[in-house]
């Protein structure tokens, strides 16, 4: 009998986790919200989604082959698929095709592979892609449309959709402001939040997702369901989602209590924009968030507070992508200061003092 090379240390057992399985579970969790929004925004959204995800896979394959890494095996880890999926979810649903392709290049080539590929990037690739697009093409990136569910009256058919996505023929009458954008614009016209809130969709529509917004962000309920599924599968823990939402809610609630005419309520901030998507699927990205539980709480709180600051005081109505990217930059240093206490040692690393026996 022969025993295979014994060069490697134990353990000689392994859990059934793998990178591919992790990524695949995240995709599965995103599916309900994605399907709902593809339905809500119809054929143009489906086309843009396909183009964006396809472009991400193509750019990933190109980068891998340039770097001389195994292409097929690495593509199979589903990480590029997930990046593409998240990027697509953060785009306006009727945006032109080239936006998705540019976003893919920025996400995969610039934010991921120039840092060394999977696991090496400091910043969330999908959010880098989205942010570059938002800064470069602010108009296209903030052209929202009201829901046009598939097969409903007024929804574009496949051929109209091709014209919208690939021909750049955006119909004029359909655009609609996002709730956050609307409030911001009205504030700049000195109309208080208390009045402008009358025009935004009701809380129920916001929760269910029947509202204008990015391709995948509108349904808080379905994203929450996906997030809870990820927690049940132990892919993510509650620390980041809860602290992101907690930070945002606390800031918003406090300021809303002080000046309701200037600041929207905590609940409004929670259900609008990309709060849920950001809290459950974007801030929780493994590579770019801290590894310790304590660090994750700090990271999440930071994201939440920054989201609120950007939404209220910066030039953009939405701040999830910016907030996450800023906190991504801090993740390594948060990790360094939140290492767990080693067994038998003080938090400074000295052996525990020997206590008198009880």
């Amino acid at each position: 009998m022969s025993i295979a090379s014994i060069s490697k240390s134990g353990p000689y057992a392994h859990g059934d986790s793998s990178v591919q399985k992790t990524m695949f579970t995240v995709l599965l969790a995103l599916t309900p919200a994605t399907l709902f929004n593809l339905y809500l925004f119809g054929w143009p959204a489906i086309l843009l989604f396909t183009v964006t995800v396809g472009a991400c896979l193509a750019v990933e394959a190109g980068c891998l082959s340039l770097a001389g890494k195994p292409v097929r095996a690495t593509l199979a880890d589903c990480s590029a698929l997930l990046t593409g999926w998240l990027l697509a979810m953060s785009l306006p649903p009727w945006a032109p095709w080239w936006l998705g392709v540019l976003g893919a290049i920025f996400s995969i080539a610039m934010a991921k592979h120039s840092f060394g590929g999977i696991g090496q990037n400091v910043f969330n690739p999908a959010m880098v892609g989205r942010t570059v697009l938002l800064i470069s093409f602010p108009v296209v990136m903030t052209t929202w449309i009201a829901p046009h569910p598939l097969f409903s009256a007024g929804a574009p058919g496949l051929f109209e959709a091709i014209a919208i996505t690939f021909g750049g023929q955006m119909p004029d009458a359909v655009s609609s402001a996002s709730a956050l954008g609307h409030i911001k614009t009205e504030l700049s016209r000195h109309i208080p939040v208390t009045e402008s809130m009358a025009q935004v969709p009701g809380l129920m529509d916001m929760l269910l997702g029947y509202r204008a917004g990015s391709m995948g962000e509108t349904s808080a309920i379905l994203i929450l369901a996906g997030g809870l599924f990820l927690m049940a599968k132990r892919i993510i823990s509650w620390h980041i989602p809860l602290s992101v939402m907690g930070g945002l809610f606390l800031m918003a609630a406090i300021f809303h209590a002080v000046d309701p005419a200037r600041y929207a309520s905590g609940t409004f901030h929670l259900v609008s924009g990309a709060t849920f998507l950001g809290a459950f699927f974007i801030a929780t990205d493994y590579v770019t968030s801290p590894v310790t539980r304590k660090g994750q709480l700090i990271f999440g709180l930071g994201c939440g507070v920054l989201i609120w600051l950007i939404r209220n005081f910066a030039g953009y109505p939405e701040g999830v992508a910016f907030a996450v990217l800023l906190m991504n930059g801090l993740a390594p240093i948060i990790d360094q200061y939140t290492r767990p206490r080693a067994f038998g040692r003080t938090s400074k690393g000295e052996p525990l003092p020997l206590k008198e026996k009880p």
Binding site: M1, I3, A4, I6, K8, S9, G10, P11, Y12, A13, H14, G15, D16, S17, S18, V19, K21, T22, D77, S79, G117, I118, G119, Q120, Y286, V287, T288, S289, P290, V291, T292, R293, Q296, D335, R339, P340, R341, A342, F343, G344, R345, G349, P351, L352, P353, L354, K355, K357
Partner: protein
Amino acid sequence: MKLFPIRGGIHPDYRKELASEKAIVVMPLPAALYIPLQQHIGAPAEVLVNEGDLVKKGQMIARNQGAVSASQHAPTSGRIKTVTDVTAPHPSGLPQTTIILEPDGRDEWGELPEPISDPFTADAHTINDRVAQSGIVGMGGAAFPSAIKLNLGEQKKLDILLLNGAECEPYLTCDDRVMREYADEIIDGARIMAHALGTPRVVIGIEQNKPQAIAIMTRAASAFPNVEVIAVPVQYPMGSERHLVQAITGRETPARKLTADLGIVVHNVSTARAVHQAVRFGRPLVARVVTVSGGAIREPNNVLTPIGTLVADLVAFCGGFSARPERVVNGGPMMGQPLPSLDVPVVKGTSGILALTAEEINDRPADACIRCGSCVTVCPCGLSPVEMSAFIRKDKLEVAAKLGVMDCFSCGSCSYVCPSHIPLVHYFNYAKGMLNDLERERSKSERIKTLAEVRTIRIEKATEAKRAALAARKPAAENTSPVKTGEAEATTEEKANA
């Protein structure tokens, strides 16, 4: 009783059901037994027999030597075939001196030491001597000579003897079976040990996945008010000495200290049974229960195996292989050592022989780390495997040491959960080995430096003395050449010191 939480840990696929319901069976004597002189931590024993000697079962054939060591005894009666080098049951595959015994089939006991009739009135020395004389070592796997641990009572004030029946490693069921079948012997052994240690309390910790063992042990302990059986949560690595102590008492052993510094001594349940045998019957440790299991074993079982039985013979007794084993492991799958071949003997620390299929091991080439942080969450020592491995990969071992790599006891939880299949424990074992080497090197050069400095001072003093003597003599004899003499003496000294 209130238990205390321990940090991290995992819930691996235990697969104990492969062997847990198999009652202990006795292994028939094989054609030859291979008894290594070193089956324990410490110095190898000194051979007492020669080729051709006839020995009886239980006769001492190698005596402990040095402060930390253990004797070896003939596991059966027979003839000493030879004393030679045989591959050790160690991943290195290096040979070590081994006594080869050919059983005569009669299995006759030799003259044994008198039973200690009333151990509870005997003094600690008598019991410790008996344990030392019987070659008993820790049977949980570490194989530290037990008598030394029993002597701790002389140096420290102890309050609890903790018997480790956690058996948290997957597959292993030998302690479970011993507890179910020999509960009274374990508890008697434990009470004797507690007497020797001077601990008023005996606590037996058993993981909750062994309900029968808990019930039987609790019943056996009920007669003794100071003996308590505690069911501890199923959470690998609960069987780690320090973690078990923390779970049961809430006391956290400081780094670089022993649990004995907290007043607690931990022994394995099977060790307690061996102590019972040695004290009550004078029988030395010549056999142990080994779990033979794994997906590649045809008939997994718990086998009372004579020490020195070849793994090949033991595997054959269990029906041989039903599939090609990817690895044969000595101990549990988490912390066990791979065997270099099947032609190595079962020793006192062998708790299990596992023949694992590739599917069970589920090994894969490592992917890039995705910083999921699972390793940090599960580390029972509160370390950050993700960071340490990154530094070790870049050979920045000093940084890894600062991050606490030397506190890692290689439980394997991090490697087990890593979705990228990064061999984290492998990195840590490498770093620990290298850092130990560096440390040895450093203390060696430190020592050389000290010696050199001492020598310089000595020479200076000698020269000074000469000069003084010369100065005193100078007016008397001006034409001698004392400088040369001094140099010559220094040279002689240098040679003597070299």
